[in-house]
């Protein structure tokens, strides 16, 4: 049985350009990292960049 972490609803304290939920904030929400953390981080960062692009393109492009 896996232990689920409690999901935080707190906004990130620092959101650099290119991020909506920066990896350190997401990392804190995950259970114990038992495998390759870089793999998880890379894929999280990619989808977070899409999310960022969506938000900012609504302002800049449309």
């Amino acid at each position: 049985m896996t232990q689920e972490s409690k999901t935080s609803n707190a906004q990130p304290q620092c959101r650099p350009a290119g991020t909506v939920v920066p990896w350190p904030d997401q990392r804190r929400d995950l259970p114990e990292m038992t495998g390759n953390e870089q793999l998880v981080e890379r894929n999280w960062t990619e989808i977070d960049a899409w999310t960022y692009a969506f938000l900012w393109h609504c302002v800049v492009s449309f």
Binding site: V20, W50, V59, V60
Partner: protein, 399 residues
């Protein structure tokens, strides 16, 4: 064999276009018209079709590129896919066929000053966390299906975020295929990649409104400057993340209301330029040029643009005097555009040819010029005038 010939044509055009962009002298003047709703008119469609269905917009652009044999075009200069504001319930956009007549181009609706999308007491929130402000305040306020932070959730909110993300991803992902199609079908170069706006224009266009922002320049100038500075890294990030990976075609900055007489020279120097110039310089450090799509007249600020590294921008003339622009900027930057839209809409083909001759003789004379209208061409542009501009430039604009 045909595929090889088309690819050869593409490479010739790419060399011609990029040579001119870098202020060099190619074999002849490249032709790169920014055709928007004109493509619908030429292809027998209306504004609704090319706004509500990007596949039709792609078809219309490709047909124009093939028939006119242009060197480069924007893959879809109509640029808005009407489904995106529809799924979000965007309040500031009106699209043809839904509220607007189907033969009218889409419109931006700027609210009254007291209804601005950003309230004057929200500067600190924007400055502290621009992305958070977008997510939690601006998006819900500008899109009627979205619910703001702390408000009761709705099923439409859930669906709208989902559909909005899917729609933007679908639309942007389709551009790769369109760029490849233009190359494969007619050997046409995709003219630009990457988008930029000045922080000042973003504040005016999308947050405070023009009137609200100009009042803020007097009532809370420090906040305006801090907000523009807070937006700079985000403008840079969007520009670089959407730029041409091959660094051949420029990022485009669409310049709106940061110039005299919308602001004073002193306001330009205090707010607009210091929050844009470093972004352009950083883009240049990354190996990308920026196309200054200078809507309206920007001649009051040409001496500031000269501060930028030579070759870092291409100056696009809208209502500026293109001959004066060449004299003021031509030693440092390539020039594009300058053919008056009013001439292309209401003039005769002979008047268009006469004006193009003067531009080729006086502006394109040593290279560093790209033939185009002053502003994007909508469905009031006469087809015979576009044909005259194209054919005359191809025949006369040979070095």
């Amino acid at each position: 064999m045909r595929a090889e010939a088309t690819e050869r044509l593409y490479q010739e055009r790419l060399a011609r276009y990029t040579t001119a962009l870098r202020n060099g002298k190619p074999d002849r003047v490249p032709i790169r018209p920014f055709v928007a709703e004109f493509t619908a008119k030429y292809a027998g469609m209306d504004c609704q079709q090319v706004t509500q269905d990007y596949r039709l917009a792609f078809d219309a652009a490709a047909r124009c590129a093939a028939d006119f044999d242009w060197d480069a075009i924007v893959p879809n200069m109509v640029y808005l896919w009407g489904t995106i504001p529809q799924v979000l319930g965007t309040r500031y956009l009106a699209v043809p066929g839904v509220g607007l007549p189907r033969d009218t181009g889409f419109q931006y609706c700027e609210p009254q000053e007291d209804q601005a999308w950003m309230k004057p007491d929200e500067y600190d929130a924007l400055i502290e966390d621009p992305t958070g402000y977008l997510l939690n305040v601006w998006m819900p306020r500008t899109n009627r299906y979205l619910v703001g932070d702390g408000q009761p959730n709705t099923w439409r909110n859930n669906v709208a975020w989902l559909q909005g993300g899917m729609a933007v991803m679908q639309y942007f992902s389709a551009f790769g295929g369109q760029i490849e199609r233009l190359r494969r079908e007619c050997g046409t170069v995709s003219a630009i990649a990457g988008i930029l706006k000045s922080p000042f224009d973003i504040l005016a266009d999308k947050f405070r409104g023009y009137i609200g922002l100009t009042m803020d320049l007097f009532e809370r100038p420090e906040k305006v400057l801090a907000a523009a500075e807070a937006l700079m890294p985000h403008m840079l990030h969007i520009a670089l993340s959407t730029a041409d990976p091959n660094k051949q075609v420029p990022i485009t900055i669409w310049m709106h209301r940061g110039c005299v007489p919308f602001v004073s020279p002193a306001q330009f120097e205090r707010f607009f330029w210091p929050t844009l110039k470093p972004v352009i310089e950083e883009i240049w450090k990354h190996g990308h040029q920026t196309l200054f799509y200078a809507e309206g007249q920007w001649h009051h600020h040409w001496q500031h643009f000269r501060e930028l590294p030579a070759g870092s921008i291409i100056y696009h003339c809208d209502r500026d005097d293109v001959f004066a622009a060449k004299r003021a900027l031509g030693d440092r930057f390539a020039i594009s555009g300058g053919i008056p839209n009013v001439l292309l809409s209401f003039g005769t083909p002979q008047e268009v040819r006469d004006f193009c001759k003067r531009v080729i003789d006086e502006v394109a004379v040593d290279g560093g010029y790209i033939m185009d209208a002053g502003a994007i061409m909508q469905d009031d542009t006469r087809i015979e005038n576009i044909r005259a501009m194209t054919e005359f430039t191809r025949e006369y604009g040979v070095y």
